[in-house]
């Protein structure tokens, strides 16, 4: 008992020091958006209204590959729930799924054993203001994908010096691949809010500066 009394200040000091270290780490953390949002258990009505693909019954083919569904379920960014996913574009190498979240609808493109992910607000998708995403594929090509609301049949992808490619929307998403080194410019489409045009960036063009 005497030993406890003798070393109690040391132990208390050690505990306080450990707590202080933990607190310092916490204050260094800038919580990104989309974390700590309760995971949705059903598709929200606004999402169903904006995207017909979410208004159809879910089939076996709509399930994400398990290797990506499990970590997405763990992270649950924006409250997304992979168990509610729908397959929009099925492809031998890369497929695009939509995954309902809380006030957002995530769009994910499978890439190898992983997947790229963006989660625009449902309101932006509904009004035709959801921006595209780009991701580098295994062979260096760049994939361009994004979500559009019902009624948008295609998007225009501008590359190089004025080259325009029309890409059909399929099940509320569009997906296209351009060769490595292609200069990316914009994705444009006419939605409920009129014509929108978004810049797109080649991830490989981002300099490494550490």
């Amino acid at each position: 008992m005497r030993a406890v009394k003798r070393y109690l200040p040391v132990v208390v000091s050690a505990a306080l020091l450990a707590a202080a270290v933990g607190a310092t780490a916490d204050t260094d953390e800038t919580t990104p958006p989309g974390q700590d949002v309760p995971q949705v258990t059903e598709i929200q009505p606004q999402a169903r209204e904006a995207m017909e693909v979410l208004d159809r019954a879910r089939g076996e083919g709509d399930a994400l590959p398990r290797a990506v569904a499990a970590p997405m379920d763990d992270q649950a960014d924006f409250g997304m729930n992979p168990d509610l996913s729908r397959l929009s574009v099925g492809n031998a190498t890369n497929s695009v799924y939509v995954v309902p979240a809380h006030d957002h609808v995530c769009v994910t493109l499978t890439v190898g054993d992983g997947a790229d992910l963006v989660c625009p607000p449902t309101a932006d998708i509904a009004s035709g203001r959801a921006a595209p995403a780009t991701v580098t594929l295994a062979n260096g090509d760049v994939a361009i994908y994004g979500a559009v609301p019902d009624g948008v049949g295609s998007v225009e992808i501008q590359t190089g010096s004025g080259t325009s490619t029309r890409v059909a929307a399929e099940n509320n998403v569009y997906y296209s691949v351009v060769p490595a080194g292609t200069r990316l410019r914009t994705v444009a489409y006419s939605g409920p809010g009129g014509l929108v045009e978004f810049p797109i960036v080649d991830p490989s063009a981002v300099l490494r500066a550490g």
């Binding site: 030993a3 406890v4 003798r6 070393y7 109690l8 040391v10 132990v11 208390v12 050690a14 505990a15 450990a18 707590a19 270290v21 933990g22 260094d28 953390e29 800038t30 919580t31 990104p32 958006p33 989309g34 974390q35 290797a67 990506v68 499990a70 970590p71 997405m72 763990d74 992270q75 960014d77 890439v111 190898g112 054993d113 992983g114 997947a115 790229d116 992910l117 963006v118 989660c119 625009p120 921006a131 595209p132 995403a133 780009t134 991701v135 580098t136 594929l137 295994a138 978004f198 810049p199 797109i200 960036v201 991830p203 490989s204 063009a205 981002v206 300099l207 490494r208 500066a209 550490g210």
Partner: protein, 130 residues
């Protein structure tokens, strides 16, 4: 001598007990929250406190976000020993992330960047073991 051993034993038990009070926070997977303040356009940033290096890890997940703004952010996982990126570095508006799968090599840097054309801050989150 016996008393000294007993005291040391008690001390050891108490220190272990104190350490266990904070152990749960440290037992989870390694995570890193970016806090890249006022970064130039198209410049990768690694880790905490305005880009201080957060080490080499087997990053399975990486995300980038635009704090308080609306602009393009990018994320990537880089292997400095070879100068190559894991397949899957990408960009999106306001928020983007990538599930890299079960990465085994503890040899990667997780990075984020912004592509607004000006100077902007970038936040995000990386996880080394989902």
């Amino acid at each position: 001598m016996t008393h000294t051993r007993a005291r040391l034993a008690v001390l050891a038990l108490l220190v272990v007990g104190a350490a266990s009070m904070v152990a749960p926070a440290q037992a989870s997977a390694f995570v890193s929250y970016y806090n890249c303040v006022n970064k130039p356009n198209l410049e990768w940033c690694d880790g905490r406190a305005n880009g201080s290096f957060d080490g080499l890890h087997s990053w399975d997940y990486n995300s980038a976000s635009a704090p308080g703004g609306s602009y393009i952010v990018c994320q990537g996982v880089y292997k400095p020993s070879t100068g190559t990126w894991l397949t899957g570095h990408g960009c999106g508006q306001d928020w983007t992330s990538h599930v890299y799968g079960d990465v085994q090599c503890t040899c990667y840097e997780a990075q984020v960047a912004q592509a607004s054309g000006g100077t902007q801050s970038v936040n995000g989150f990386a996880d080394a073991a989902l």
